[in-house]
């Protein structure tokens, strides 16, 4: 299946080189760093595109770089493999990445540490590309940790602000908890199969379908790791805090690429999950709950970036839902479309913030469509795509998710799947609701305050508009049966989900009703009858507070986990570190000191005492001589 060529290394190497040069050049010429980084990203994109064109259908390019892990029986080389799935993911990562790099040149112009920023951004790209090009689990894990590192570095980019640094810590630590389970899954796999290479695992696992229980445990462990990275319950709390990062970072890492790594991992190991219905059930339940709860939280937030963050969490739930239903390629489809419209939304929000007075609270905005028409249009288009309005891209991928739940999951879990589908429709409705709300608050209605807003420069707007266009058209073309569905088919064995996109009109009026309804209701509510909102909030105060307070998850964690750990740490510090260890060391020193004080009295300076010592020694010697 794989052909060995030595051609894969530039995929990861170009952005690495870019990172180095961006940093070095950025020390002297800050403006140039961004162009270097964008150039490296673009080079990677072109290279990946070329590889994709050259890739024969159903085969893969493989390159074994060097022998890396050789511990006992575990042999893992740094091997890259470029197959259909890798091609799709790399294109998305590099493509959206390059656009966001371009945007960031404008966004970060004037920041004194721009060189460092672009270096980190390129480093992230390298790590992410490594992740999706990995041929075995250890290499994937390198990329996994690499993107976590870059996420940490970029969230805490303006580290002088303490809460930003705290957010970066939170992201990394929560991720780490997931990683521990992820590693457990990897260990289990290695213990039972002796290899961690994806193709070898596929062969071995498909040959042993009877080990369903093992696959179940592994699947759950790996999914916990994925939920850390892809922000599902209970490890999603880092993502809203991660909005402390500069907006291009939020767009690239926390919307389009890094957070999809968990989904990617699940798709990669589809053969394992296909044989573990228990794990699939767990994934489904968690995903549906996450999607719904996150959407309700997004409805009650005032900060535009927080709305988009919870929206991302919700949409990730959709991707996991599709994967849990067995329609893995649909999950990939949603990754692609989500990357486009979410990045577009984030960048538009960034334009609003950057060129509109650095304000993030939507309640303080209003009527911006007059001053930033292009941005408003991009936001609207991407928002409709998110809401799932046909014939935009988001509709096709979301609709595919619904259909996947209906066909695959119904057979396996019956009533449960019906419930899941219901919740999914409800979530789609709430999604449309909150994005309509956001749009009305920012762009429509009366202008609040005296925000001096203007349309962003072309460097920035170019990326936004490109993404908006992609959000419109990519869905239809990718949904065609001979497109993505067929392209990814060789990677999966077993029943394959068939999706027929159907006609456009039928799509618009029959199938996209949750989104349509949500948008209409939302717009009318927030535009024409804001007083109704207040009345609803008064009617259901508890629910309102619950949504607004993000179900108090952070507070619960702080109470149950963080505070006890802190107290334990302080206790350990006082007792063990200061008391025992320092005590022993210092005590030792003090003992020596005391001893020295006593012994030093021997040196009295008096010759007579010394003579006495000499004579005693002589007596001792004589005694020895006589005895022996």
């Amino acid at each position: 299946m794989s052909v060995s060529y030595s051609i894969l290394w530039p995929v990861v190497f170009f952005p690495l080189l870019g990172a180095l040069f961006a940093y070095l050049v950025g020390l002297k010429h800050k403006q140039l760093a961004g162009w270097i980084a964008t150039g490296a990203s673009g080079a990677a994109l072109f290279y990946v595109a070329g590889l994709t064109l050259l890739l024969p259908h159903g085969r893969a390019f493989e390159q074994r770089l060097f022998e890396w892990l050789a511990v006992g029986d575990l042999q893992a080389a740094l091997t890259l493999r470029f197959d259909a799935l890798g091609a799709v993911m790399s294109l998305v990562v590099a493509g959206v990445g390059t656009l966001i790099h371009l945007y960031a040149i404008g966004y970060m112009a004037g920041d004194p540490a721009a060189g460092r920023f672009f270096a980190y951004l390129n480093l992230f790209l390298a790590a992410m590309l490594l992740l999706v090009s990995a041929a075995n689990l250890p290499v994937l894990f390198i990329g996994w940790e690499g993107v976590a590192l870059c996420s940490y570095l970029l969230i805490g980019f303006w580290f002088k602000k303490e809460e930003f640094a705290g957010a970066a810590n939170k992201a990394f630590i929560v991720n780490r908890i997931g990683d521990a389970c992820f590693l457990l899954g990897i260990f289990l796999l290695y213990l039972n199969f002796g290899t961690l290479d994806f193709s070898e695992l596929r062969l071995l696992i498909e040959r042993h379908p009877e080990l369903s229980a093992l696959y179940g445990w592994v699947g759950i462990c790996l999914f916990i790791g994925a939920s850390g990275k892809s922000a599902q319950i209970p490890l999603f709390v880092w993502l809203p805090d991660a909005m402390a990062a500069p907006t291009p970072v939020s767009a690239l890492i926390h919307a389009a690429t890094m957070v999809t790594a968990g989904v990617y991992m699940m798709v990669r190991l589809n053969y394992l999950y296909a044989l573990a219905p228990l794990a699939m059930l767990v994934v489904l339940v968690v995903a549906v709950l996450t999607a719904f709860l996150a959407a309700t939280i997004a409805l009650a937030q005032d900060d535009i970036k927080k709305v988009l963050a919870y929206s991302t969490i919700s949409q990730l739930g959709f991707m996991f839902m599709a994967a849990a239903a067995g329609a893995y390629w649909v999950a990939v489809f949603h990754i692609i479309t989500h990357a486009f419209f979410k990045a577009c939304l984030f960048l538009s929000a960034g334009s609003v913030m950057h060129c509109g007075g650095h304000e993030q609270n939507m309640r303080k905005m209003g009527g911006l469509w007059r001053k930033m028409p292009l941005t408003a249009m991009s936001f609207a288009v991407a928002g409709l795509s998110l809401a799932g309005m046909a014939p935009l891209a988001g509709y096709y991928s979301k609709h595919a998710c619904f259909l996947a739940l209906q066909s695959g999951a119904f057979e396996t879990w019956g009533r449960l799947a019906e419930l899941a589908l219901l919740l999914a429709w409800l979530t789609a409705f709430v999604t449309a609701l909150y994005i309509a709300r956001a749009f009305s608050l920012i762009f429509l209605g009366p202008a609040q305050g005296n925000l001096t807003a203007h349309e962003p420069p072309w460097k920035m707007n170019g990326a936004v508009l490109t993404l908006a266009v992609l959000s419109v058209f990519s869905g239809y073309f990718l949904a065609l049966p001979h497109a993505l569905q067929h392209y990814l088919r060789p990677l999966f064995s077993g029943p394959y989900f068939n999706f027929d996109p159907g006609g456009v009109l039928e799509a618009l009026f029959v199938h996209s009703w949750p989104g349509l309804l949500g948008v209409l209701v939302g717009l009318s509510l927030y535009l024409k009858a804001p007083w109704l909102i207040e009345r609803i909030k008064e009617r259901f105060p508890f629910t309102a507070r619950l949504f607004r307070g993000k179900y108090y998850v952070d507070e619960i964690y702080a109470l149950l986990i963080v505070r006890p750990l802190e107290r334990l740490s302080v206790g350990l510090w006082r007792f063990v570190d200061q008391g025992l260890i320092d005590g022993t060391v210092n005590g030792g020193a003090r003992l020596v000191d005391a001893l020295a004080l006593v012994v030093s009295r021997v040196q009295s300076g008096q010759v007579r005492h010394y003579a006495l010592f000499v004579f005693s020694a002589a007596v001792l010697l004589a005694a020895f001589y006589m005895v022996f």
Partner: protein
């Protein structure tokens, strides 16, 4: 004839008396005298053993001991004088510069 043992025991006793003197006395000149006492004890032992062995080598050795003792006494007194110049005392307890 006097047995050899008597002479040796006498020599040992003299030696020990000299050692005690070196340790106990504070006046450094007296200490020097006690040292001479010790050397004398050695001389006595050497001569007694020389007679017991039947040759004169022990006596020659004792002769050299006397020479060395004289030289030592001379130099020792010179040191004490030099010490006296600065400290104005010949007590050993006043030479405690190396304390601690």
């Amino acid at each position: 004839m006097i047995p050899l043992g008597h002479y040796l025991i006498l020599s040992g006793l003299m030696f020990v008396v000299g050692v005690v003197g070196v340790i106990v006395r504070r006046n450094s000149i007296v200490v020097l005298m006690c040292i001479e006492l010790m050397l004398n004890a050695a001389d006595l032992a050497l001569v007694a053993l020389s007679q017991a062995a039947g040759n004169l080598h022990g006596q020659v050795a004792a002769f050299f001991v006397i020479i060395v003792a004289a030289a030592g006494a001379a130099v020792g007194l010179a040191i004490i004088i030099a010490f006296f110049r600065t400290v104005r005392s010949v007590e050993t307890s006043d030479a405690g510069e190396l304390k601690g």
